[in-house]
Symmetry: C2
DNA sequence: ACCTAAACGGAGTGCTCACTCCGCTTCTGC
DNA sequence: GCAGAAGCGGAGTGAGCACTCCGTTTAGGT
């Protein structure tokens, strides 16, 4: 008996190849058409049958999650780069921009993070990035560049809305989101901040809000 | 022969009653569940059969459009009220707020205007409101309160994004959109405005962008 | 070579919807 | 009242999709 790996039943070579092909196809298909592409289209693109695909990924959600995972590292790296920036403000905005650039490349990422559904994958990402984001915001608060009433719980709103613009502009004005983000970021600056009509979400509310979107 | 109305073939009394009941049911159903409610649910709620509903509204789109039309006047009134405000800035922001309040009441309105589909109905609304909005923006520009690089073609972004927040907050934090709008409006003020990374959409681009969303 | 567990493919299933068809019922003008 | 046009209901149709079943093929250890 060889060492008992947690869950690595060593796929047969053909199986492993197919798995990779499926992931590549899914990545491309999601990027091109959004997570709504029929599973069948992905199977075809990958040159495998439905059965094959479903044995590897028992659920469409699993497939989505696997594709997302590939962007996860880039996401964390973006946050770390932001923290590495000497200027807390450009560190913060640079992070936001970088994440949105990832959204451009990977439509699934946006659709999951901005939360139309697939809550499970989203939770995983969020857990990992949350502390970094919190620190990014704290830094910009201490520095006096970010308006003090902006809370970490407001971040989903930023991604949600910018993501919406990004999606709308796809194919017509691919960088329109940068303009929108410019407007919004000017609103986040400490400079001309005006009292807001209500407080941020509590963390529980935020979770509930994002969860409700799973459908 | 009585006067030839453009298209008023004088429905039979029962037909007219049913038509009204269908509209009422649709309004309620859309508000409660969004435009995705099955047509069947509306028919049931109205106490009529599918056949009846479809004879009156040959397409689900027609039904959506009819419901929207009911909010149209309120929409125009909001713009006129904004123009009546002596202060161009509060006139502008008051209009935006009022429109979003309409979105709260009438989920279909948002789903159509913010442009997930049903482009036809949207076009009708836009044609009617556009000149008023243009004037609202001009006034605030002349007054120096609205950042000069904000263009009328940016308005859809405002409604699109605020509407997104509104929808996300529904049932958890119904007034969350007001907070988001506060942030964004601070970004629209002339005060701390920073150069934007790209220009606004051309009108043609805007139309294309909104049209693409019809699916 | 050979044998068998693993892997494969794609037609089939079940579900949700928008939309249609048609035999029956009800207004309404004469 | 009574024709017959106008209206009605709701089972049925077709299309799109996620997901399953099972007879066939193949990798790879011996």
């Amino acid at each position: 008996m060889t060492t008992r790996e947690t869950t690595a039943p060593t796929l047969r070579r053909d199986a492993r190849e197919n798995r990779d092909r499926i992931l590549a196809a899914a990545r491309a298909a999601f990027a091109a058409e959004g997570v709504d592409v029929p599973v069948e289209a992905i199977a075809e693109r990958a040159g495998v049958g439905m059965g094959t695909l479903y044995r590897r990924f028992p659920t469409k959600d699993d497939l989505v999650q696997a594709v997302i995972e590939e962007s996860l590292d880039a996401f964390v790296v973006a946050a770390e780069e932001g923290l590495a920036d000497a200027d807390p403000w450009t560190g913060f905005t640079g992070f936001v921009e970088r994440v949105l650039e990832l959204h451009v490349e990977n439509r699934a990422l946006r659709e999951v993070l901005a939360g139309t559904e697939h809550g499970h994958a989203r939770d995983a990402v969020r857990r990992r990035v949350r502390p970094l984001v919190r620190r990014l915001i704290e830094r910009a608060h201490e520095d006096g560049s970010l308006r003090p009433d902006f809370a970490p719980e407001d971040m989903p709103l930023v991604f949600m809305t910018a993501g919406r613009v990004l999606e709308a502009g796809r194919g017509v004005a691919p960088d329109l989101w940068r303009r929108y983000l410019g407007l919004l970021l000017d609103g986040l600056r400490a400079g001309g901040a005006t009292p807001l009509p209500r407080g941020p979400l509590t963390r529980a509310q935020m979770n509930r809000l994002l969860d409700r979107e799973r459908r």
